[in-house]
């Protein structure tokens, strides 16, 4: 059974904290994604990685950075969390163009 695993389902952090969201996939996929999901806005792409150590900015990269040191792991970093980063964060992986994206169950992050 294919799997994308996010390290936490729920997370509460304080404003100004550095936050790490971890994602691991077991499908040997080339591509990994971090999306943010907010009501009425669907899924907005934060960052996309197409290979180890390779990344590309999505639509809303401000305030976020990413790391992909190993093929199976893609980390999202909030350098200094702010209340407007309270959201649901979804990680996904896929092999290539036209293929299915597999998602983790999401991390609901609350910044207080």
């Amino acid at each position: 059974d294919v799997k994308v695993t996010q390290s936490s389902r729920y997370l509460v952090k304080r404003t100004g904290e550095k936050v790490f969201l971890e994602c691991v996939q077991d499908m040997d996929h080339e591509n990994m994604f971090w999306y943010r999901q907010d009501p009425g806005l669907g899924l907005r792409l934060i960052y996309f990685s197409y290979d180890v150590k390779m990344k590309e900015k999505g639509d809303i990269p401000e305030g976020y950075s990413v790391s992909r040191e190993k093929k199976e792991r893609f980390s999202l970093i909030l350098e200094s969390a702010s209340t407007n980063q309270t959201s649901m964060y979804l990680c996904a992986s896929r092999q290539g163009w036209g293929t299915e994206a597999f998602f983790g169950q999401g991390t609901r992050l609350t910044v207080v």
Partner: protein, 112 residues
């Protein structure tokens, strides 16, 4: 600004009714996918369309990719409570990118 806009944003109908969800863009997409997301879960792929004018059927669901590959529709016949969920379209702008962009989402509620 999100490239893929869905309408309607919300849809609440009775069991047995038909409905259509639209996914529109001013940009051309090389492929278009539809996903369904249930509460507490990540989105799951329903279908992929890659050719302008293509129509695919999945039981009571009919998917169409516009001739110009700028829009798509999802039609559900005789909706059932099990169809309840968030429907998301997603696409890639070109053939040489694996970057997947999602739409704004349509939340469907089907009442018994």
């Amino acid at each position: 600004t999100q490239l893929l806009k869905q309408s309607p944003q919300f849809l609440s109908i009775q069991e047995g009714e038909n409905l259509t969800v639209y996914c529109n863009s001013s940009s051309v997409f090389s492929s278009l996918q539809w996903y369904r997301q249930e509460p507490g879960e990540g989105p799951v792929l329903l279908v992929t369309v890659v050719t302008g004018g293509e129509v695919k059927k999945l039981k009571r669901l009919t998917f169409q990719f516009g001739d110009a590959r700028k829009d798509s529709s999802l039609h559900i016949t005789a909706a059932q409570p099990g169809d309840t969920g968030l429907y998301l379209c997603a696409g890639e702008r070109t053939y040489n990118t694996d970057k997947l962009i999602f739409g704004t989402g349509t939340r469907l509620q089907v009442f018994p």
